[in-house]
Amino acid sequence: MKVVTGVVGNDIHVVANRLIDISLEERGFEVFNLGVNTYLEEFMDAVIETDADVLLISSLNGEAEGWCRDLQILKNQYDFRDVVFMIGGNLGVGEMDPEALVPKFQNYGFDLVFHQIDLNEGLDRLEAFLEAR
């Protein structure tokens, strides 16, 4: 299965990005790593060019909330029906209610949302989600 991954927005957490890349490969995924500082449009375009099954966006500095708001709009511009949209990392910044984060990102259009969840647990749940599909 093909996964497009990378760190969204003005975020340079390259070590986390590399760990995600390695972990995905270890689990047998074909990984297209766009690296750090990636815009949402580039993620979507990479999914189209590679015909990927999963888009896994990570964010460590909490900016994802701002960068991913247009996901639904972009999803409407192409047929992404078979693609799983996943986001994980540290998704909030400042004074925020962690409980509200998951539904907020689900409303943006993500199928799987992991805020401050261990990487391996997140990937286990991704695999379970893909299998259930």
């Binding site: 449009e41 990479a46 060019e49 015909d51 192409y78």
Partner: protein, 391 residues
């Protein structure tokens, strides 16, 4: 025996021998070879055909229509390769929206179709064929996913199939398409009587000047006092080209030479003067700039030497503005970290160092809020193209 280098521009031609460059204003009542012969037949006769090298930007270049799957990869990569191959006129169509895209009315020299890495199937279908049926084109080249080649080959007569310009890890592969476009330019020259005749004086391939300038950039700091990152701004009679170090761009392309080219086809000071004036009048900073230069906007309507000088200063300002972060066009250069600006083309024959320094410092102060500007060099002898043609 030394070699003779000739550059045929839209307004001047330049002849270089033994490190000395002479320039001649074109006589548009004569064809190029007759004009060249009338001005420097003696020089040409002293050289063997195999020792004469010619580049030209005078035949207008090829018009291109690129049909690509996404903006961030297929279209971006193909545009980059086309510009670096010396192509000036580029239209694009985003394939997912092809059914609502307008069809160009004029004849297109080459259509480029691109999309998908090699493992992706069924990217292009009948929608592409339906669109292409309405387009008037002479050549078509496919540089997309391998798995769609059969469909293109079966349905598009004369389609040239080349290696995918998008690698399996989403990087750019430029060589195949770049060579094809450069060869096509050559074939285009052969088809144009004016340039074709130049083969009477040379045995060597005639290249496009922008391609030659781009080729010269990796060695430019061995010959001129420039520091990376730098840009070369070639403001000519018909178009304005910018060649820039890739260090100035923050995106996903990594090309072999490390230098890319961008063209503003309507910012020349001679053949496209009207559109330059139009662009200037629509720029919010231009009136402040005119005030800084102690002139009014009426100067833009005048046909005087002073008006030409002002127009050239405006052209420098507009080009920098169009690649700055204040203008979200095709490319955004990080001008904050720029170390050198090299100006070449007809502009260096008219403006002096002080006038150029003044306008660039105005740009840096006004737009970027800096107190100083990069080091500015004027390539007064049009030397840059000779570095590339000697390769």
């Amino acid at each position: 025996m030394n070699k003779l280098y000739i550059d045929i521009g839209s307004t001047y031609f330049k002849v270089a021998q033994n490190g000395v460059i002479d320039q001649y204003f074109r006589d548009f009542n004569k064809n190029i070879l007759d004009d060249l012969s009338s001005k420097c037949a003696d020089v040409i006769s002293r050289y063997d055909k195999k020792d004469i090298y010619i580049c030209s930007s005078a035949n207008g270049g090829l018009s291109t229509l690129i049909i690509g799957l996404t903006n961030s990869f297929s279209l971006k990569y193909a545009i980059n390769i086309a510009f670096n191959s010396g192509i000036n006129i580029i239209d694009t169509v985003l394939y997912p929206k092809i059914e609502s895209e307008p069809v160009p009315s004029e004849m297109i020299d080459v259509v480029i179709v691109v999309g998908g890495i090699d493992s992706v199937e069924k990217v292009f279908d009948e929608k592409l064929l339906a669109y292409l049926e309405k387009v008037k084109y002479q050549n078509i080249v496919y540089v997309g996913t391998q798995k769609n080649r059969d469909f293109l080959e079966k349905n598009l007569e004369n389609a040239v199939i080349l290696e995918n310009i998008i690698s399996n890890d989403l990087k750019i592969c430029e060589e195949g398409l770049k060579k094809y476009l450069t060869d096509l330019y050559q074939a285009d020259i052969v088809g144009k009587e004016d340039i074709k005749q130049l083969y009477e004086i040379t045995d060597n391939q005639i290249f496009s000047t922008p391609y030659i300038v781009n080729r010269s950039l990796p060695q430019i700091n061995e010959r001129l006092d420039v520091a990376n990152p730098f840009i070369v701004v070639d403001i000519g009679g018909a178009t304005t080209d910018i060649h820039y170090s890739r260090d100035l761009v923050n995106d996903n392309i990594l090309t072999e030479s490390g230098y890319d080219r961008l063209v503003f086809k309507k910012l020349g000071v001679y053949k496209s003067r009207e559109s330059l004036v139009h662009t200037a009048k629509n720029n919010e900073f231009v009136y402040e700039l005119l005030e800084h230069l102690n002139v009014t906007e009426n100067i833009l309507e005048e046909q005087s030497e002073k008006a030409t000088r002002i127009l050239m200063q405006l052209a420098i300002f507009l080009v920098l503005y169009k690649v700055s972060k204040h203008h979200g066009d095709y490319v955004e250069l990080n001008l904050d970290i720029l170390n050198s600006i090299v100006l070449t083309g007809g502009i260096t024959k008219v403006l002096n160092q002080e006038e150029v320094d003044d306008i660039i410092l105005f740009f840096y102060k006004k737009i970027l809020h800096f107190h100083h500007a990069p080091v500015i060099l004027l390539d007064r002898n049009y030397e840059i193209w000779t570095y590339g043609i000697k390769e």
